[in-house]
Amino acid sequence: MGTITSKTVPTVQAEREAAIEAVGLCKSFKTPVVAQGRFSGIRSLFSREHTTKEAVRDIGFTVEKGDFVGYIGPNGAGKSTTIKMLTGILHPSSGSVKLAGVDPHRDRLRCASRLGVVFGQRSQLWWDLPVKDSYDILAHMYGVEDRDKSKRLDEFAELLDLDEFWDTPVRKLSLGQRMRADIAAAMLHDPELLFLDEPTIGLDVNAKRNIRGFLKVLNEEFGKTILLTTHDMDDIEQLCRRVMVIGGGRLTYDGTVAGLRREIGLPTEIKVTYRAGYVLPRQGGDLIIAGDRQTGAHVQPNQESDRHAADSSFAMRIVSQTESTLTVEVNRQDVRTMDVLRELGQLGEIEDVEMREPDFEEIIRRAYG
């Protein structure tokens, strides 16, 4: 009996393994200090001085099977370093990674065969050979049967329009074509987990749409777990269920896209031009506090009004002001525009109103801090 349970337990665990499990990941790079002055070349060769740069500090997260995660952050925040640690390219200075229960550093070969990796800036295809030859070589590398290979390639060709450049040497492909070919290459061995490092970088709108469509199919229909980094916020909005934001080597946010919007708040800028100037209430600072005095005075025939009526005090932050214009920022999750305009209307006679909705880029910029 004992032997049976001990044999079944691991398989059950394997079923439940998270697709990615990162614990306390740190990576620091040592760069030798380049000496100045005489014989600097020789001196820096023997010098043991170096600066240590902590690229990633204590990052931990778990990605479940079938998740679609966006990993974003400004340049140099540690995105690529994290991806490289997850895929087994870089060894973490401390911490550990498990991909479906396997450590990509101890067991790189086993992990690599279950993993698809696409670097937007680099191709894994053979530069001088026709696209289809690269697939033949990769199929050998990953031990993909001929039957499976042609079946998958047929599917990919349809979804990614590979046919148009099937026989073209990779070096002659356009960036969009190359990226499509590269993503198909990463999926040829049917990995459960796909890492994409800036897959849409430098692509035109059509190519981006094509690739997003393909990734969506992979995730939704084939249940692949996908983690991508990007600077294109449309990628995040259209594809990802979950976002992780990294800044200065630390995770600063980890949650849903909607949650990120909520957390950062959606400040809408409203610029009001007054006909004959305005008088700011003496409240100090750059805030205009709208008090409870309006409660009940602006009951609107809409369902949300109750909520607002119950707590109608809100604050507007003044972004800039001139003699005749006033620009304020409000969070439209908390307050309705009509209430804001009514409040601003009390400061003077309004001539014109301009509104600027913040886009997702702006939210991210704030999330980056």
Binding site: F29, P32, G76, S80, T81, K84, T87, G88, I89, L90, H91, H105, R108, L109, R110, A112, S113, L115, V117, F119, Q121, R122, Q124, W126, W127, D128, L129, D133, I137, H140, M141, Y142, G143, P169, D197, E198
Partner: protein, 276 residues
């Protein structure tokens, strides 16, 4: 269990060999995309090699012999070194080019493949070096031919020399790999390569007796290029040492590669990649 693992390992090995051949074919096909470049490069290599030897030949012809080594013997050293180096550069050239992978971060791609890194790396640099083979072959045939003629060596020298070329190629590969591994810390390795590869190989084209003791010692141990031509020549051409030279050469070249591999594995874990 052990039996199954052995079978697994055997299939894995067979797959690796098959894959190695496929990757080499790929590499040759890629190179053939630029036929003119290939033909021109081959021709150029032959001319450069020949002019290098002519320089030595002029010196030898003028002074006759180097520290008791005849012109034919020095020619032999030169040819064995050339052929061993050609062997190394034919199969292991990408180790020599590692700097490019480190500086441009190209090693990333290879590390994501389910293959030992050397298996993905080495076939990429595979090339057929006709120029060097022809040049080295001619000089070897000439010097050995003269010595056969004069009765200095017997026909046994031919298989023995081929053996020395193979172990020599392995030794040079090990030196190249160990040097390249330093790149995982320093990124740039071309200066180091100048010393451990180019300068050392050039030095070992002459009898090591030419150099001060510490240096010939260095060239036999730390950077064992002396094992490529000099040590085998002592026995094959001059009857010094003994037949034990060959097992020692085999063992030394294996040891050198194993040590270099160890170092390489350690180096890979220090790979820093590049920003993107």
């Amino acid at each position: 269990m052990n039996e199954r693992r052995a079978v697994d390992r055997r299939t894995a090995l067979r797959n690796y060999i098959k894959l190695y051949l496929i990757l080499i074919r790929t590499s040759v096909r890629s190179r053939m995309q630029y036929r003119f470049n290939f033909a021109f490069g081959t021709l150029l290599a032959a001319i450069i090699q020949l002019s290098e030897f002519l320089m030595i030949a002029i010196v030898l012809a003028k002074f006759g012999a180097v520290r008791g080594w005849t012109m034919h013997e020095v020619g032999y050293l030169f040819a064995v070194m050339t052929l061993a180096k050609t062997l190394y550069r034919t199969f292991g050239n990408e180790v020599h080019n590692l700097e490019r992978y480190l500086v441009e971060g190209e090693l990333d791609q290879l590390l994501t493949k389910p293959l030992p890194i050397l298996l993905s790396l080495l076939p990429r640099g595979f090339r057929i070096m006709f120029g060097e083979v022809i040049q080295g072959g001619i000089i070897l045939a000439w010097s050995l031919g003269q010595m056969l003629h004069s009765g200095q060596v017997s026909w046994w020298a031919v298989p023995q020399t081929l053996f020395a070329i193979v172990t020599g190629g392995v030794v040079l590969f090990a030196i190249g790999m160990a040097t390249a591994t330093c790149g995982f810390w320093t990124t740039r390795i071309s200066m180091l390569q100048n010393m451990t590869e180019d300068a050392a190989q050039t030095a070992a084209r002459y009898p090591l007796t030419l150099y001060p003791g510490w240096m010939s010692g260095l060239l036999l141990t730390a950077i064992p290029v002396g094992l490529v031509g000099y040590v085998p020549a002592l026995y094959i051409l001059r009857g010094e040492l003994g037949l034990w030279v060959f097992p020692v050469l085999a063992a030394a070249s294996c040891l050198a590669v194993l040590l270099a591999l160890r170092f390489w594995k350690f180096g890979i874990s220090k790979y820093q990649s590049t920003g993107s």
